[in-house]
């Protein structure tokens, strides 16, 4: 009898004929680890979706859209508030570079991200108390000059980190460009008011009617605060330097909108209004002119066609819908009229150059054209008023000179927003100012905590290639359109032109999101794993756990991941990679684990036995 006297040690005991219980959710196949067959390991590695990457303040768009999908609106709102102090504002005014970058745009239509952001922002404003709270006070004081987008954002982030923040605002009301540069029918005043209130609720002090250089000196700032963020923006309108530009009846874009916004406007526009300029402010002015009583509005641009205009296409579309006429390839060379504006002198002109730096070539020899108007609004950009700034911090563009971190030399001063971004190629948009304010706030924090400022060395893997995702899982769906007021009726009202999403619309639109490169807990890997060795680890944040002792590296989960967040990483890249010779059978669970313990105990036992 060959089997007489044989003994199978406990740690090698196997069930009858190797028949094992059915694999369980928690343990997989406990007895027979197959993980050592693997040459690659599936790893959940979230990538940067193009929307998040394109956003000026890097809102975690894929994250809040996913939460909206699941009906977790409050969580979504909290997530958006990490990067954006006022989603109700940007949900209305943003030029949404995220939507231009959206991968879904290559497939059918981009996600209407801004509309969902507005849905969340309005939801946040309706809360009796904000979800965001000030950090524990750290006893340090920071001044923020200006309450526009950059100043608001910097103050918000600093307050969250526990700083005592004081905003110095030269106007009678806080809001900066949000109030003075954006018409009511885009951003109602009460929405902005509530967002400013939210900022005050965080403990931020806002001193209005306080102008640096007049009410507060540079030295005061330096003496009274641990740090200061200059976010003064571009407050002075550019002029075209045409004859008669100082006549009554000639207004400039920014003051025109600002006075209406602040409620201090004395302008009464006539029946025929011309707007000089082709940017976003010019568009707002043209549309505002209708609402101030104009009957005919003509926009005169040096650009030779609408595509060249540095404007958001859908705003241009809405403007044309309202009846504004376009006159291209002309520059205003003089304002004609005796005491009042009667007509403009126009000459053919050509725009050549980049945004924010506009060399214009005017054909002086061509015959002048007379263009009859009652008013003209000049909206050809803004510049800064920096008389109070020490000369060493000024650039030749009349902006503030900062280093890579937004800091003025080694001083306690930092600057953010349009005042540093003008001329850098960065579009002067609300969201970019918000992002700049946020980053500068974090840098202020680092300096005040005595940490070194280091450039971010993040290599971002932006997922823009649809081939990296599995498109078979995404049926085509049309974008949910935001309703708008009838163009004919909206010309006479300050009511919002673009209407909000309903909850159903917001969810439907969020549902279209691909979640590019990020795990959205779709369960696909969990379902397709043939082993099965993927377990639901924590459904709430969409993570799964791969039981590496059983994963054979078959790649099925990787191939079938709709969003492309799963990657096959070679085993050799891991210290504990199973294909290394010394760890060929290095299994930690199941029978092997017991065997490993047994083997480890062997030398000690042998020593005892020898004794």
């Amino acid at each position: 009898m060959s089997t007489k006297g044989t003994h199978i040690p406990d740690w090698l005991k196997v069930p009858f004929a190797g028949i094992t219980p059915g694999p369980s959710q928690e343990k997989g196949q406990d007895l027979f680890p197959t993980g050592n067959w693997r040459s690659i390991r599936p790893v959940y590695r979230d990538k940067m979706p193009p929307c998040n990457n394109a956003c000026g303040t890097n809102e975690k768009i894929q994250g809040y859209l996913d939460l909206v999908k699941r009906g977790k609106y409050l969580d979504a709102y909290a997530l958006i508030k990490e990067d954006m102090p006022f989603p109700s504002v940007t949900g209305r005014v943003c030029y949404h570079p995220c939507e231009q970058a959206c991968n879904r745009g290559q497939y059918d239509e981009a996600i209407s991200i801004r509309a969902v952001e507005r849905f969340l922002g309005d939801l946040g404003l309706a809360l009796p108390r904000d979800v965001v709270q000030a950090g524990p006070p750290n006893g340090k004081k920071v001044a923020v000059v200006g309450s526009g987008p950059a100043g608001h954002s910097a103050a918000y982030q600093l307050a969250r980190m526990g700083y005592a923040v004081t905003i110095l605002e030269k106007s009678p009301r806080a809001g900066g460009l949000n109030r003075g540069g954006i018409p009511d029918w885009v951003l109602p005043q009460d929405v902005l008011d509530r967002e400013v209130d939210r900022l005050k609720e965080l403990g931020v002090t806002i001193k209005t009617n306080t102008e640096v250089g007049k009410d507060v000196s540079w030295d005061d700032l330096e003496r009274n605060y641990d740090a200061c963020v200059l976010a003064v923006g571009l407050t002075e309108p550019n002029k075209v330097k045409a004859d008669g530009e100082d006549k009554p009846g000639v207004v400039h874009g920014l003051p025109f909108l600002r006075d209406i916004g602040m409620g201090t406007s004395k302008v009464k526009v006539g029946a025929r209004v011309a707007v000089i300029g082709g940017g976003n402010t010019a568009i707002d002015c043209a549309r505002e002119a209708f609402r101030q009583g104009a009957l005919e509005v003509t926009m005169i641009t040096v650009e030779s066609n609408p595509q060249e205009m540095p404007a958001v296409p859908e705003d241009l579309h809405d403007m044309l819908e309202e009846g504004v006429e376009l006159l291209h390839g002309r520059a205003m060379t003089a304002v004609l009229g005796n005491g009042t504006v009667e007509a403009l002198e126009l000459r053919p002109a050509r725009f050549s150059g980049a945004i924010n730096a506009s060399p214009i070539t005017i054909d002086k020899n061509a015959p002048a054209q007379r263009f009859a108007v009652d008013n003209v609004i000049v909206a050809v950009g803004q510049h800064a008023s920096l008389d109070w700034l020490p000369a060493k911090f000024k650039t030749e563009r009349n902006t503030i000179k900062v280093d890579h971190f937004g800091r003025l030399g080694d001083s306690k001063f930092f600057a953010a927003g349009d005042i540093v971004q003008l001329g850098t190629g960065q579009p002067l948009m609300v969201v970019n100012a918000v992002g700049d304010g946020k980053r500068v706030a974090f840098n202020v924090d680092k300096v005040l905590r005595g940490e070194a400022l280091r450039p971010r060395m993040l290599a971002t893997d932006v997922i823009v290639d649809l081939n990296r995702m599995n498109m078979t899982y995404f049926p085509h769906f049309d974008r949910v359109k935001q309703d708008t007021l009838n163009p004919a009726s909206r010309r006479k009202t300050q009511d919002e032109v673009i209407l909000a999403f309903t909850e159903e619309q917001a969810v439907e639109e969020a549902n279209r999101c691909f979640s590019c490169g990020t795990c959205n807990a779709c369960d696909n890997c969990y379902l397709v794993c043939p082993e099965p060795c993927i377990i639901r680890y924590d459904r709430s944040n969409g993570l799964y756990k791969i039981l590496v002792d059983y994963c054979k590296g078959c790649r099925v989960c990787i191939e079938e991941c709709p969003t492309g967040c799963l990657e096959g990483v070679p085993e050799l890249d891991f210290d504990t990679g199973v294909v290394r010779m010394e760890t060929a059978f290095a299994i930690t669970q199941g029978l092997h684990g017991r065997q490993a313990d047994e083997l480890k105990a062997l030398p000690q036992r042998a020593a005892k036995e020898i004794d």
């Binding site: 044989t6 190797g18 094992t20």
Partner: protein
């Protein structure tokens, strides 16, 4: 499953039909089949039984023997009693499945009607087809006539399905000499079979209500314990086989030695050692030669797996010369002849009085071994006895003077 009740009667049937009858009496649940002569007659008989309602079973005709055995494996895994069978190269084509079936401890029963392996196509009986699978963990033995075939099929189900054993069984019979020669077969009462053969019950059948994994992948160190347990099952079948034969005798009235049949071995100096149907002819030849004074006898092995080593050692040590009739071929082996020589010699090695052993290549290709050849072989054994030593280990009978 229910089978029509039948009472005890004697019928004249061949070995193939006897095997089919045994499957019917065992009330098998699943039959997997693929035609190849001479086994085809068994599958035909079973098809008739299922068609006319005598037997309620799933009858699956496969596309090849490989599929046939795979289906048998799967059906057995689900807890069914499974009957299948084949011959010659058909047995070979299913080779991949033999170890998995025994390794997963599925008591599939396979009827083998031997057929010579190709080339060229030869219908005759030679045991090489089944013998080549002898180390795959199947219980295995040869019957010498239709009645013994019927009985061995019932015995094999009883032994293989015993919870102490759980191993598949090959119940072999010579093609044509047994499979196609009719003989009187005593068919039992169904009640007797019910008493002898309890319903099959696998401990862990595939069942969606109680999920289990069969045949998973294992780590290298997990193989040896499973192999050891399979070896234990094979060895552990010995007492089960003996117990089954005893109970068989009590219920059916036919008493077999489960391992060896001894024929006229009293006072014998030389004996033939063989398996299967040639034992019937050998009995006639031995009777003749005994009448002429030659002290010759026969030992016929009934079960080769598990191999009755000690019994063979004990029995064959009583003689001076053993002549192994191979009826199989093992090219380039120990004796340059067949498989049985080395199996016999291995069992005898530790004997203090071991006989001289000759290997006879007889019955090859399915040829009958005629009386004249038995006489010739007896003469060779007597010469060796007289000489006290072996001059030539292996003889190709019919090709030498």
């Amino acid at each position: 499953m229910a089978t029509a009740a039948a009472s005890r009667r004697t019928v004249r049937i061949n070995g193939c039909v006897a095997a089919a009858q045994a499957a019917k009496y065992a009330d098998v649940d699943v039959i997997t089949a693929y035609p190849i002569r001479p086994y085809t007659a068994t599958m035909m008989a079973l098809a008739q039984m299922v068609a006319n309602g005598e037997l309620d079973a799933e009858y699956i005709v496969a596309d090849s023997e490989h599929s046939q055995l795979s289906m048998a494996h799967g059906a057995s895994s689900s807890g069914a009693r499974v009957f299948t069978g084949s011959s010659g190269v058909g047995v070979q084509f299913a080779y991949e499945l033999y170890s998995p079936i025994s390794g997963s401890r599925m008591p599939v029963q396979m009827m083998i009607a031997d057929r010579t392996l190709d080339p060229p196509g030869d219908f005759g009986s030679e045991h090489t087809d089944a013998l080549s699978t002898r180390d795959m963990g199947w219980l295995m033995g040869w019957s010498c006539d239709a009645q013994e075939a019927f009985d061995n099929h019932l015995l094999a189900f009883r032994i293989g399905e015993d919870p102490r054993v759980l191993l598949p069984q090959m119940v072999c019979q010579d093609g044509f000499f047994v499979s196609h020669i009719t003989a009187d077969v005593d068919l039992p009462d169904t009640g007797q079979v019910k008493e002898f053969l309890p319903p099959y019950k696998h401990p862990y059948p595939l069942d969606p209500r109680h999920p289990v994994s069969h045949g998973p992948q294992i780590m290298p160190e997990q193989g040896p314990p499973l192999q050891l347990e399979r070896a234990r099952a094979m060895e552990g079948s010995v007492p089960v086989i003996e117990q089954a034969h005893n109970e068989f005798a009590q219920i059916f009235g036919r008493k077999y030695d489960p391992w060896l049949e001894e024929f006229m071995t009293d006072g014998a100096d030389v004996v033939f050692f063989l398996q299967g149907g040639h034992g019937v002819t050998a009995r006639y030849a031995i009777r003749h030669m005994r009448e002429r004074g030659a002290k010759v006898g026969m030992v016929r092995m009934k079960t080769i797996r598990p191999y009755p080593t000690d019994r063979i050692n004990e029995v064959l040590s009583r003689f001076k010369v053993v002549g192994v009739i191979e009826t199989n071929m093992s090219l380039g082996c120990v004796s340059s002849g067949g498989v049985l020589y080395s199996e016999v010699c291995g069992a005898l090695y530790e004997s203090a009085t071991r006989p001289l052993v000759l290997s006879f290549m007889a019955g090859m290709g399915g040829e009958a071994i005629v009386l004249k050849e038995f006489y010739w072989m007896t003469q060779k054994m007597l010469d060796v006895q007289k000489r006290g030593g072996i001059e030539k280990r292996t003889h190709w009978v019919g090709f030498e003077e």
